[in-house]
Amino acid sequence: MSSIAAPAERGAAVTTGGRWKFFIGGLLILGAIAYVTLSSFQTNAIYYLTLKELNTQRGSLINQPVRINAPLDKSSIQFDDKTLLLKFNLKEDNLVLPVVYKGVKPDTLEQGESVVAEGKLGPNGVFQASTLLVKCPSKYEAGTPAK
């Protein structure tokens, strides 16, 4: 019966008043993780703006990293496949933002309704994108099929 009631590890607890040691140790570790999280957040957090918001804060945002989300003007897409230089305009109401991106053109760009671009707004008013996400109309689905 002894093997059922009390396996070897289940001896009487050695109480050394050690709870506090663990509590403090755990707090220190959690504190360290929280500190790393918050401080990295401070240094890496960037504004996520619409074109309108970017325009009103234009002055203070030159050369600051930002992420913008705006409708794509499909007719403006230009891609030089020799140099991998991609240019297009984002357009919201009467605001137009020229975007330049160096790299492989995303396959879904032509169907993109809007684009999420991360990068910096240059003093010349051109947005230098470092990453592009293309937002498709609906999930990975196109609209309702034709009759």
Binding site: I33, N69, T83, E118, S138, P145
Partner: protein, 694 residues
């Protein structure tokens, strides 16, 4: 006509299933309260019938997908006539409504398996397990059958058979169009990849399977049977769920690597984070249960971890299937949000209520003895894993929170996640190495130092060796040093075990190794998982610290250089396949001047009758060796001039990421195999619990 009848039948079987889950939960509750075995049997039967009916619904939807019943909106959106059969089948989980059905169906099957497994066991827990499973099932069934968009048409549909009523549902997979399109749109070509066939299946299997341990945890809380019986009963469910979450991560990364064509496999995208977070908390849980089993401690913590994993699985489904967080997966905004948040909120609150109510039954049976013990190292592992999960969660949902609170949307990208999780995961690797060196309860520093000498020596030697070979980055030296440390400590564990067996049983080394693993599958399976993790870490470190890339625009006959490779361009090759046009750039690969093979990266064009849905995809070509991947992308081409723009990336050690995951899977399977030791331990726990209650 057949399409309309079948759609009606599909919807009706889901609606019936929904009412049956409510009945099952109610019947199980009263059966437990009034000691009414007949009522309990009835609740069980209801769960079996739900499994049958949802299977029927899945069968109908698959029939419609395969036979092109385009009157069904879901079929018209997800399939087309030209699409290969494989992807018509996988369209079941390619879209939102189908995914909900898939979830509900998997859970129905799992619930039936649980009932069969526990036909004669855990009779006190089972009615409450049924309640938990039925509620989760009812939630997903409600989304498909009665839940409408709260912002538009109220919360519930009360008259499902009124005209047009069904179109207001948030997730009805059998919604009908008012005409029959000639052809469907087809699955997005990016999803037409074998990796995408298997990735969502494994991911959902993992998410859904965690419902089982959670249902047992809630039942244990409810019935105050809070020994380790519920943990041991669900041990293999937890392992299998974890296995599938791991496979989900693996196939997801492979899909991204082969199909998205940017040279990486992980971008800290919201949907990727959604699959990582439950994996992290589940990993913590797999470790901390060992302390409850051995020492009767951490009872509350284990319950919390199971709850967190379940909630993160639901959140993962929600993030993937809604569109709350902008992501490369670019899912549109859907009306599912309020429903998922409400379900999460109710789950969390009822868990917390039960937990605080049962606090008196959750006393620890032992106390931690020493800071230097296996228990402490497990605790530390738990803090680190849960810390990483929370840091990831913070970065993932912060854009939503900041917008709700301040009106300004602030976001973070990959640099944040790397900066935070880099050090956290490094600490975890070192811990994997040290943990086996520390005994249970109380280890002595002298003992640890003695065991530590060899691994530390090898680790330092590795770092020095790499430094001599020209590696200068401190993070590279540190990471590979840690990798060596862990491999040596785990190797020592196996070596000791094998030597002991060879002495005791006069076995040859190979037999001794097999017998060693077979005789304690859980322990050595776990070590094999650790080896897998460490190999994957080596692959991740190599490919993220030291990739090199170049690009060039080439005329036929020209070559480009990267490291020891030359790529000679032989021209374009253009040909049609079943459902797309292929434009391939033919390249001859030379390594140090010697011809080693050819590669043909492609641009594929998928034409759709709906011209908006026509699309290009990029198919990369990869040459893999143990040391590095040569990853080639066709970035652009000019068919008239027969020129191509080619981008080439060399990813060092990348194959070890896949090998590591394969090892991890093998280790998990070994640990999950039926094990007489575990079976005996479970029986002991049951008897102990019964004695304690008597």
């Amino acid at each position: 006509m057949a399409d309309l009848v079948m759609a009606e039948l599909g919807y009706a079987s889901l609606l019936t299933s929904f009412f049956l889950t409510i009945y099952a939960a109610g019947a199980a509750f009263f059966a437990a309260r009034r000691q009414a075995p007949a009522l309990y049997a009835s609740a069980r039967n209801a769960i079996y019938v739900v499994a049958a009916l949802t299977t029927l619904a899945v069968g109908i939807l698959e029939w419609a997908l395969i036979t092109h019943q385009f009157r069904l909106e879901y079929v018209a959106l997800q399939t087309s006539r030209a699409q290969p059969l494989l992807y018509n089948v996988s369209a079941l989980w390619g879209g939102q409504e189908g995914s909900l059905l898939f979830w509900a169906w998997l859970l129905a099957v799992f619930a039936s398996v649980v009932l069969m497994q526990n036909r004669d066991k855990n009779q006190d827990l089972m009615p409450y397990v049924i309640i938990g499973l039925a509620i989760a099932q009812g939630f997903f069934l409600a989304l498909m059958t009665i839940a409408t968009d709260p912002a538009q048409s109220g919360f519930f549909l009360l008259t499902p058979y009124a005209k047009d009523a069904l179109n207001a549902l948030v997730g009805n997979p059998f919604r009908l169009l008012d005409f029959t399109p000639r052809d469907g749109n087809g699955l997005n070509p990016l999803l037409q990849n074998p990796g995408m066939f298997i990735h969502p299946v494994t991911q959902y299997l993992g998410y859904v399977a965690f419902t089982v341990p959670f249902a047992f945890a809630m039942a244990a809380l409810f019935t105050r049977r809070l020994s380790d019986v519920w943990i041991r009963t669900t041990r293999r469910w937890t392992l299998v769920a974890w296995l599938f979450l791991s496979l989900g991560l693996l196939f997801g990364m492979q899909w991204a690597y082969m199909e998205l064509g940017w040279g990486g496999y992980w971008g800290w995208d919201a949907v990727e984070n959604a699959s990582l977070m439950p994996w992290l908390t589940a990993t913590a849980y797999l470790h901390s249960v060992m302390i409850q089993e051995r020492r009767g401690m951490l009872k509350v913590w284990n319950l919390v971890l199971v709850m967190l994993t379940f909630c993160l699985s639901i959140l993962g489904t929600f993030i993937t299937r809604s569109g709350v967080i902008q992501s490369v997966h670019a899912f549109g905004v859907s009306s599912l949000g309020p429903w998922f948040l409400a379900f999460l909120g109710v789950t969390l609150l009822s868990f917390l209520y039960l937990l605080f109510n049962r606090m008196s039954d959750l006393k620890e049976e032992n106390e931690l003895d020493s800071l230097l013990s296996r228990e402490s190292s497990f605790l530390l592992n738990n803090l680190i894993l849960v810390g990483a999960a929370f840091a990831t969660l913070w970065g993932t949902i912060f854009p939503m929170v900041s917008e709700a609170v301040t009106g300004k949307k602030v976001t973070v990208g990959a640099p944040f996640f790397n900066q935070v999780n880099g050090p956290i995961f490094f600490a975890l690797i070192v811990l994997i190495g040290i943990c086996p060196l520390i005994g249970w309860r109380r280890a002595t520093p002298e003992n640890l130092a003695r065991n530590f000498l060899l691994p530390m020596g090898v680790s330092i030697a590795t770092a020095i060796g790499l430094f001599a070979m020209g590696v200068r980055e401190w993070y590279g030296l540190l990471t590979f040093g840690a990798v060596a440390l862990v491999l040596v400590t785990i190797g020592m564990e196996f070596y000791r075990g094998v030597i002991a067996r060879m002495r005791q049983h006069a076995e040859n080394p190979l037999v001794a190794l097999v017998q060693l693993v077979a005789s304690n599958r859980r322990r050595y399976g776990g070590y094999i998982v650790h080896i897998g993790v460490i190999l994957a870490v080596a692959g991740i470190a190599g490919s993220s610290f030291y990739p090199v890339e170049t690009q060039a625009n080439l005329k036929p006959g020209e070559t480009m250089q990267l490291k020891q490779y030359s790529l000679q361009y032989d021209g374009l090759q253009i040909y049609p396949t079943e459902n797309h046009q292929v434009i391939a750039a033919r390249l001859t690969i030379l390594e140090n001047g010697a011809r080693v093979g050819t590669l043909a990266p492609e641009k594929d064009f998928y034409e759709s009758p709906n011209s908006d849905a026509s699309q290009w995809t990029t198919e990369v070509a990869v040459r893999t060796t143990a040391l590095e991947d040569l990853y080639v992308i066709l970035a652009g081409f000019d068919a008239k001039a027969n020129t191509a723009t080619v981008k080439v990336i060399v990813n060092p050690l990348l194959v070890w990421l896949w090998i590591g995951f394969a090892t991890l899977v093998a280790g998990t399977v070994i640990a999950a195999l039926p094990d007489p030791r575990e079976a005996r331990a479970t029986i002991r726990s049951r008897v102990r619990e019964a004695l304690a209650r008597a």
